[in-house]
C-alpha cells in the first residue's frame, strides 16, 4: 500500500473516532477535529469558488477578449464585468460608513431569487400537486374487490390534502365543522411525520454502516499488520 494511502487511512480513522467521541462528551479530540474541519472546508470553499466560478466565468472571459480595442472588449465582456463590480461593492462591508453600498448587490440577489422562484413554485408544486390530487368520487362501474383500494386511495388523498390545507388557515377561526376538519388534518400530518421518521432511520443507519465498515475493513487490518498479527 502506498505510504500516502496508509497515512490517509490512519488519519481518517483517527478523525472518525474523534468525532464519535463527541457522543460521550465534548473533549479535546473533538475540538481538534472540529477546528480542522472548519479550516479545511473554508479553504475548500475558497478554492472551489475560484476554480468553479471566478476562473472559468470571469478571468478566462476577460483574457479571451481583445483588449487592444478596449471599447469593444468592454462591450463583449460587460456581462462578466458587471457582476464582478457588484461583487466588489460587497467589500463596502469593511467600511462601516459605506456599508449601505452592499445593499445594491444584495438587492440584486434577493430580487432575482424571489422572481425566479415564483413561476417555478407555481409550476412544480401548485399545478403539479393540485392536479395530481384530482380523482373521480364515484367509480364508473362496479369494481372488483381486489381493486377496491385503487379507488379508495385517491379519495383518502383528496380528504387528506383538503383537511391539512384547512388546518393551515390562519385568518379564519377554527370552530365547529372547521375544527373537526382541521383535526382530521392534524391526524394526517401526524401519520406523515411518523412515517417519515420511521423511513429515515434506515438512511441514517446506512451512514453508520459506512463508517463502521471503513473502520473494520480498511483500518483494522492495518492495526493487526502493525502488531504483527496479520497473516
Amino acid at each position: 500500500m502506498p505510504l500516502q494511502q496508509l497515512l490517509g487511512i490512519w488519519i481518517a480513522a483517527g478523525l472518525t473516532l474523534a468525532i464519535y467521541s463527541f457522543l460521550y462528551k465534548d473533549n479535546p479530540a473533538y475540538k481538534f477535529a472540529e477546528h480542522i474541519y472548519v479550516g479545511i472546508t473554508a479553504g475548500y470553499a475558497l478554492c472551489t469558488a475560484w476554480y468553479n466560478v471566478i476562473e472559468p466565468n470571469l478571468i478566462s472571459e476577460l483574457l479571451k477578449a481583445n483588449w487592444h480595442n478596449p471599447f469593444t472588449a468592454l462591450i463583449m465582456t460587460w456581462t462578466v464585468i458587471a457582476p464582478a463590480l457588484l461583487g466588489i461593492l460587497m467589500f463596502s462591508r469593511f467600511f462601516s460608513k459605506a456599508s449601505w453600498v452592499s445593499r445594491i448587490p444584495i438587492a440584486f440577489v434577493i430580487g432575482a431569487g424571489a422572481g425566479i422562484s415564483v413561476p417555478n413554485t407555481v409550476q412544480a408544486y401548485l399545478i403539479k400537486h393540485t392536479s395530481a390530487t384530482f380523482a373521480p368520487l364515484i367509480p364508473k362501474e362496479a369494481i372488483a374487490w381486489s381493486n377496491i383500494m385503487d379507488f379508495i386511495n385517491p379519495l383518502i388523498v383528496v380528504l387528506g390534502v383538503i383537511s391539512v390545507l384547512i388546518y393551515f388557515f390562519f385568518s379564519i377561526e377554527q370552530k365547529n365543522g372547521l375544527k373537526t376538519v382541521s383535526w382530521i388534518g392534524i391526524i394526517f400530518l401526524m401519520i406523515f411525520f411518523g412515517a417519515s421518521f420511521g423511513y429515515t432511520v434506515m438512511g441514517r443507519v446506512s451512514l453508520v454502516i459506512g463508517r463502521v465498515r471503513f473502520l473494520i475493513t480498511d483500518w483494522f487490518p492495518l492495526i493487526t499488520n502493525l502488531l504483527g498479527l496479520g497473516s
Partner: protein, 216 residues
Amino acid sequence: MDFFKRQLPTLLVLVLGLGMIIQYYIPTTFSQQVLKNVNLWIQIIAAFTLCIGITSLLRTHYTKIRLQHSGWAYSIILYIVFIAMVILGFYRGIQEGTPFRWLFDYVQTPLSSTTFSLTAFFICSAAYRAFRARTMEATIMLIAAIIVMIGRIPFGDMLSAYLPSFIPGFNDMAGWIFNTPGMAARRAILLGISLGGIATSLRIILGIERSYQGKD
C-alpha cells in the same frame, strides 16, 4: 443620497423580481440568455462575498489567539489547515491526484461522513426520549413510525407474509402509509409552502417587507 440608500435597492428588487417572473413565460433565446446571466451573476457575487465570510471567520479566530481565549490553540490549528488547503489548492490545483484532493479524501470526507452518521445515534435517543404516547396525536405518530420501521426491513416482509391479505392493497402497510395518507399530508404542506413562498416573494418584490435591508 437617500435614493441610493433606500429607493435604489427597492427599485432593483422590484425590477429584477418582476423581470424574472416575466422571463419565465418567454421562450426566446434572449430570454434564456437573461436567465443564464442572472444565475451566473448571483454565483459571481456569492464568490466575492465569500471573501467577506472568510475574513469574518479568520478575524474571530485571530481575536481568540491574540487574547488567548480558552481553546486558542485550536484556532491556530484552524489557521494552519486553512492556509495549507488554500496554498495547495492554488499551487497545485484541485484535480484528482493533487495534495488538495488527498486532504479532501482523507480528512474532509471522513469528517463529513462521520458527522453525518451522528444522525443515527441522535435519532435513537430522540425516539426513546420523545416518542411518548401522551396524547392521541402523539400516539398516531408513534404507531405510524413503528409500522413503517417494521415494514421497511426484511423482518416486516416475513411478517406480512403470514398476515391475511383479505383487504387488497394492505399487504404492504408501510408502503400504503407513505403513498396515501403520508403523501396527502406532505402534498398539502407543500401547497401551503408554495403559497407562503409566493406571498413572501410578492411582499419582497413590492417592497412591503424590507426588514432584510436594515437601516442606515
